[in-house]
Every structure is written in C-alpha cells, then in structure tokens.
C-alpha cells in the first residue's frame, strides 16, 4: 500500500534531513524567505487595491444622463425618463432640473447649483432634518453650502430672490459624484418652470450595476438616435482596478524571483546530498528497494524542506501583516482581514511546497535511476 510507503519515506527523509542540520536549515530558510516575499508582496498589493477600492469604489456607482445638445435635444421629457426607468430596471432613477442661482443666508451669499428634485431620498441622505418622501416645500442644502452660509434646519434661505426655509441638510458626500451635492441646493420641482429635466441621475449599488445601467440606456434610449449623453465613471474605476491588478501581479512577480532563488538552493542541496549519499542509495537499490521508493524518499526530503520553509514564511507573513495593522492606523483592520489575503497566503504556501518538489525532482530522479553497480563502485 502506498500510504505505508509514503509514511516510511517521509520518516526516512526526515532523518536524512536531520543529518546535516545546517544545510537543511539554510535550505528551509531560503524557501521561507521566498514564500515570505511572495506572501507579503501579494498581501500588500491586495491591501493596497482593497484600500483604493474602498476609497474610490463609489465613484462608479452613479450614472448621469443628460440631453444630447448636439442632436438638438434640449431637455429630457417625462417619456425619456420613463424610457430610462424601463431600461435600467432596479437602480433608482432621479430626474433633476438644474440651474445656477445666487443663494443667500442670513449673513452671506454665494452662487450655487440649484436642482429641482421630487424624490431626494432615492439619491441622498440627510445629516440634519429629514428628507421628505416627495419634495414639495422648502430647500434641502448640501453640507458645503450649509457650512459656508452658516444655515441649519429651520433657517431662512433666499434662492434667486425667492424666500424659502431649510428643511434638511445633506450628509457630506463621502465619494465623488458628478452631481456635487455638497455645493448644491435642492428645491421642489415646482420651483422650476422648465418643460423637461436637465439631467437624470441613476444611483446603483455597485460599479458593475452602474455599468450595466449605462449600457442599457445607451442601447434602448439611444437606439435610434443619440438623444442622451451618458456620463459614467465606472470605466475609470475599471482602469484603476486594472492598474492595481497589474501592480499586484508585479509585486507577486518580485516575490516569485526570490522563490526561484530558493528553488535553486533546494536543487543544490538535494544534488549535493544525493551525490554524497550515492553509495547509500546504491545499497538501497542493491538490496531490492525499487527506484520508485528511492524517488519517493528523496522527493519527500525536498518536499519537507519546501513545506517547512513555506510554513515558516507564511507564519512570518501573518506576523508582519499583523504588526503593520497594529502600527499603522491608515491600514484598516477589516481590509487586512479580508479573505482574499488568505488566498495569497495559500498561494505562497502552495508555491513553497511546489518549489521544493520541482527542484527536488531532478536530483531524485537522477539518483533513483543510477545503476547500483556504478553507485556502489565509488
């Protein structure tokens, strides 16, 4: 049964490795460093990508649809909005009127974008006050404007000369949005006398969803003529993600080089050790140990070096990443604990063992296939 043979081989291999401890330790160290390099660089790259994704990921979740002036479309009709709704399906579709106006508080005034919106709750959230289900009265103020004009809920506000009252202050937008709600004032649709909407905002849950929505709009609303312009940042986010993928691969490659060096050191150790033990292997072959069993013992030796080095390297990586998280507040613990990092650890672990086996294969094969007559002669 091969299980017995493997157990025997590993036991014999372990003893052979103990014979020349210094050499074994050095080879294990080589693998450990290689695995450490692959694992740390892999995890670092991943943490970087995850962190960036966390910071800029929301950019890609909004799509802005505006009329295509080049095609003579000045505004988006209710029919257009309905068509967009049909096209995108799930994500919230928020039609907006937009204009610019002087906004004045009790002491200060400034120029701001003014939007007309019926259902602000679909796209925004309030920091102070509450967003009405249907916006019929009063003004909703962006966080930036509220601060600049020093106004809060209940305060009077003058928008383009008309008096109104602040009903809510929006939470500061944490991500980049093409609508720039921080520096805008949102009024009810009735405040605008225009025929059609200036733009339509699509708010989706993820970049992928936003991209799908944008594509759907392009395909259906723009099917016959380009009625609308579709502005989305998902493509930019894709580019950024691609860059981080590249960076991650590059870092892994750097780590891989050290793993290759470790592999060469195993090759060297195994070659030296099989040359030194040439007679012993010849004796084993002479007394009836098969080539396969000799191969198994030697592969087990190389595999043990690889596995031991891989375990040490992986453990060191875990320690270093943990140290980094503790010492650097900028690194989010949640990001460091992300399951994808475990994938890099497993990858490095597997590579370590694999490098051991691959580099051990040639010396083992060579030793196992030597004719016992030749091996015994020396």
């Amino acid at each position: 049964m091969t299980l017995v043979a493997w157990r025997q081989s590993v036991a014999m291999a372990a003893r052979n490795l103990r014979r020349n401890r210094v050499r074994t330790v050095l080879a294990v160290l080589g693998v450990a460093i290689g695995v450490f390099a692959v694992a740390t660089l892999g995890v670092f790259g991943n943490v970087l990508a995850l962190g960036a994704d966390d910071a800029i990921g929301d950019i890609g979740t909004q799509v802005v649809i505006s009329p295509n002036a080049d095609a003579g479309v000045e505004s988006l009709s209710a029919a257009d909005v309905a068509a967009i709704r049909r096209a995108v399906g799930e994500p919230a579709v928020v039609p907006l009127y937009a204009d610019g106006a002087i906004v004045a508080g009790p002491t200060d005034q400034q120029f701001a974008t003014v939007y007309g919106v019926e259902r602000p709750g679909a796209a925004f959230s309030a920091a102070d006050g509450s967003l009405p289900e249907r916006h019929r009265d009063g003004a909703i103020v962006g966080a930036g404007i509220a601060e600049d004009l020093d106004v809060g809920v209940g305060d009077r506000l003058e928008v383009a000369g008309a008096q109104t009252r602040v009903v809510a202050v929006l939470a500061e937008s944490r991500t980049f949005s093409p609508v720039a709600p921080d520096d805008a004032v949102f009024l009810p649709e009735s405040a605008f006398a225009a025929d059609g909407y200036t733009q339509v905002l699509i708010v989706s849950g993820s970049g992928t969803e936003a991209r799908a929505a944008a594509d759907a709009v392009r395909e259906s609303v723009n099917a016959r003529e380009d009625r609308v312009d579709v502005f989305e940042l998902a493509a930019v986010v894709d580019e950024i993600n691609e860059f981080f993928d590249l960076l991650g691969t590059f870092l892994l490659g750097l780590g891989g080089i050290s793993l290759v060096v470790a592999g060469v050191s195993i090759l060297n150790v195994m070659l030296m050790s099989t040359v030194e033990r040439r007679q012993e292997i010849g004796v084993m072959r002479a007394v009836g140990v098969t080539r396969r069993d000799v191969l198994r013992v030697l592969l087990a030796e190389a595999g043990l070096i690889g596995a031991l080095g891989a375990i040490i390297g992986t453990a060191a990586t875990v320690a270093v990443v943990a140290g980094l998280v503790v010492s650097t507040p900028a690194v989010d613990t949640a990001i460091a604990l992300d399951p994808t990092n475990g994938y890099y650890l497993l990858l490095a672990l597997g590579f370590g063992v694999g490098v051991g086996l691959v580099s051990g294969a040639y010396p083992a094969w060579k030793a196992a296939n030597e004719r016992p007559v030749e091996a015994l002669r020396s």
């Binding site: 049964m1 017995v4 043979a5 025997q8 081989s9 014999m12 003893r15 052979n16 103990r18 014979r19 007679q279 012993e280 004796v283 084993m284 072959r285 002479a286 007394v287 009836g288 140990v289 098969t290 080539r291 069993d293 198994r296 004719r371 016992p372 007559v373 015994l376």
Partner: protein, 294 residues
C-alpha cells in the same frame, strides 16, 4: 537444482581503445543450495563483475543466468530489483549500513516500503547473531564485526536463495573475520548458497570450494561437473555435499585439512587455487549447460 547458475557467461565493457575489455570470458559457474564457494583471483580478474552478474546488479553480454532454475538472463530493471529483493542477499566489505537507521531498521531495509512490518523477524535474526542487545543502536555505535553481522542479517531478511559477499572479512581483524565466517557456515546450513569474493586465505579455509578467476576465465566453477551430466546425478551430488557440509560442527578452528576431502568430492578442482586446478573444471560444461537449463 542450483541456487544460482551461469552458463557460458561473457561480460565485455567497452574499453577506452578499440578493443573491449573482457571481464568474464565464457564462465560456467553453479552453486548448490547450502554450498559455500570462495572466488579468488588477482585484482582486476573480474571477481567483482562476476559478483555483480550473479547478484543481478549487472547483465551479462552473453550466456545465460539462472536463479533457482529460472532464467534471469535479461530482466527489466524493475524485475531485477524484485528478483534481488526476493532471492539475493548482499554482504559488502564496507558493510554499507545506512547511518541514519538503527540495527533493526537496517536489517528491514529491503522491506522498508512494504506494508508488512518485518521488525520482529529482523530482531530475531539479530538475536541469532548475538546482537539482541544492539537492536536500536545506530551503525556508529557498533563495532566492525557487529556491523557485518547486521549486514548479514539484512541479507537474510527475505530468506534468499543466494548470499553474495564481497570481501566480507576485508575490513575485519582475523578473529572477527573468523567469527563472521562461522556465521556464514550457519547461513549455508540453512540451505542458502554462499558465494564470497575474497583475497583472504581465511575465507578459502572456510569455503566448501574455491574457484579461481584469472583474466575473466574461471577455473573450478562447476560443482557437480565430475558427478556426471544428468540432472538427477548433479542434484544428488549437491544434496550429499549439502549434508556433508551441514553435519560438520561449526568449529571456528577448523583446519584447512578438514575441508580438503570435502572439496575432493567435487572433482578436486577446489583445493589450492593453483595450477593443479588447471582446466579440469570446465570441459564438460558446454553440453551440460544445454541439457540442464530447465
């Protein structure tokens, strides 16, 4: 049936120059179960090659090789390994024990990767050789004689038909060498054929038969050649030899004289490895080899 048998075996090595080196030249050699044969000859006479060919470590260039009556002239590498494991035991001049293994583990080495654990058998073998208190010692902790006993135990773990020894006393002092040779006598009494390649006159004294190899030509290789050419006769002769050898007390201080008559039984070819052995051993081999090869 012979334990091991060579018929017209030749072995050539490709030489450095134009002519190949002839290590074995038309060698006929056969050993009965329970017979102890010493192979002597000057260095470079082909003794090691003979042992390698007998031990299935090397293949002959020509001729036939039989192991317990089975033709094993040309086997695959795997088949040869299996045949060595099953039927042949090796004892080397340098003992060749694995330094990382204990005595018991060294003895079980041939079966180390088998599902069955042979440790008990190994322990009883070692006890038989007086090493009952050294079972878990590593070779470094053993004396030369003890190491060679471990090696003999290893060669017997699979109950081989043939034990091949390459200068078994070469690294031992005379007293220890005699003790080891006495062990060989015990081994052969269990029906194992023992072939020892040696320079040591001591080995010749213990051997039932001495054959000489000179420049690849073997003198006195055929144990039963003088007893006739029928297989049955050869077998009977072999048995009688075996019995004779077996009845003899295993005294260490056996004198050369005691051995002499025994050898005379086999056509007198064994005696002194001198000119007396001349060509007597070989002449009849050709036809017999043809008739007997199973």
């Amino acid at each position: 049936m012979y334990s091991v048998e060579l018929r017209g075996v030749r072995k050539r090595y490709p030489g450095g120059g134009s002519d190949p080196v002839v290590a074995l030249d038309d060698v006929d050699f056969a050993v009965e179960p329970g017979e102890f044969v010493a192979v002597v000859g000057p260095s470079g006479s082909g003794k090691s090659t003979l042992l390698n060919v007998l031990g299935l470590l090397d293949d002959p260039t020509g001729g036939r090789r039989l192991l317990s009556g089975t033709d094993v002239t040309s086997l695959s590498v795997a088949e040869r390994t299996a045949a060595r494991k099953d039927s042949i035991g090796f004892v080397f001049q340098d003992f060749h024990l694995l330094p990382t293994l204990t005595a018991v583990e060294n003895v079980t080495l041939p079966t180390a990767f088998d599902p069955d654990d042979a440790s008990d058998r190994a322990a009883s073998l070692l006890e038989r050789f007086g090493l009952g208190d050294r079972l878990d010692h590593e070779p470094a902790e053993l004396s030369g004689g003890q190491k060679q006993r471990v090696a003999i135990a290893r060669s017997l773990i699979n109950e081989p038909a043939v034990l091949l020894a390459d200068e078994p006393t070469g690294n031992l002092d005379t007293e220890t060498g005699e003790a080891i040779l006495a062990e060989f006598e015990r081994v052969k009494r269990e029906g194992v054929a023992v072939v020892a390649v040696t320079h040591d006159p001591l080995v010749e004294r213990f051997a039932d038969r001495v054959v000489e190899l000179t420049d690849g030509v073997l003198v006195g290789g055929e144990a039963a050649s003088a007893s006739g050419d029928a297989t049955d006769d050869a077998g009977t002769a072999g048995r009688s030899l075996h019995t004779a050898g077996g009845d003899e007390p295993p005294e260490r201080e056996r004198s050369p004289g005691d051995g002499e008559p025994l050898r005379d039984l086999f056509g007198g070819s064994g005696g002194d490895p001198g000119p007396a052995a001349g060509g007597s051993g070989r002449g009849t081999d050709g036809p017999e080899g043809g008739g007997e090869g199973r």
